[in-house]
Symmetry: C2
Subunit: 156 residues, 2 copies
């Protein structure tokens, strides 16, 4: 009797209800996709993970992602490939935290909250708001195999 595939959908619905705003099919579905994801997703990735049966328009996905971000239910990350990536805010990633981006496949991951950013000095008159820390490197899939013939996939 217990739902099994609605796992993420249920959490999504609950979170949405808490905002007091309208609960719509696209919102639930998009948030569920983000919640089920193990890493930050681009708009295109969200689109392709969305049940095709829903037929959600791509513009709607853009709008929902933006809206989720405003509501604090998601946060978006700018990689250096000029593509936004979105993450559900649930994952305990409320406060400021660092990000990792693979310089080969572009994949983005939230890292653990950073203890203390090194102080940087700004020119006079400038005001600091927050510090973003991004680690660039190779993800497990993109690190070249060492000696054993391995499972090096290239998810471009």
């Amino acid at each position: 009797m217990t739902a099994v595939k609605t796992d993420a959908s249920d959490i999504a619905e609950a979170s949405l209800r808490r905002t007091g705003a309208r609960m719509t099919r696209p919102r639930i579905a998009v948030l569920a996709v983000l919640l089920a994801a193990e890493r930050a997703l681009t708009h295109t990735e969200v689109e392709s993970r969305l049940p095709a049966s829903l037929g959600v328009n791509r513009v709607t996905i853009y709008r929902v992602l933006e809206w989720l971000t405003e509501q604090g239910l998601a946060h978006k990350i700018a990689g250096d490939d000029r593509v936004w990536r979105f993450n559900a805010a649930e994952h305990a990633h409320r406060g400021p935290h660092a990000h990792f981006q693979c310089s080969d496949c572009g994949q983005v991951l939230c890292l653990d909250p950073v203890t203390s950013g090194p102080a940087v000095k700004l020119p006079a008159g400038y005001r600091q708001q927050r510090v973003e820390l991004t680690v660039k490197g190779l993800c497990a899939d993109c690190v070249p195999v060492r000696r054993k013939a391995g499972s090096h996939r290239h998810p471009h």
Copy 2:
């Protein structure tokens, strides 16, 4: 008899000669623009600061900027407005250093070399290459004026 406006051009030519590659008008001009700039410039900004008399094509500017970056004569910075900004590498900014981006006007500045990034832990199998540190905030032009009627320009 001493040249006066060629300041940046001369340095540009010298740097280019050192690469051993071809010295072309667009390369000299674009690098001179970067050298004369007080901050990182977008492609469009470079284009508008280039002597119109040269009639350099915008595609060429893209290609030259990319090439300068490969040669180590410039470096490019990804802001969160999905626009590349370029800086001449001369400015003593050889090593790793932090960047500032104004969250209002988008302006990007190179900051001083950072002493020591806080160590972040990556998942198993991930390899770290470098750490990027970006300070977000308001530049002097975008900080709201306090009490004296001031010179608050908005260079959007």
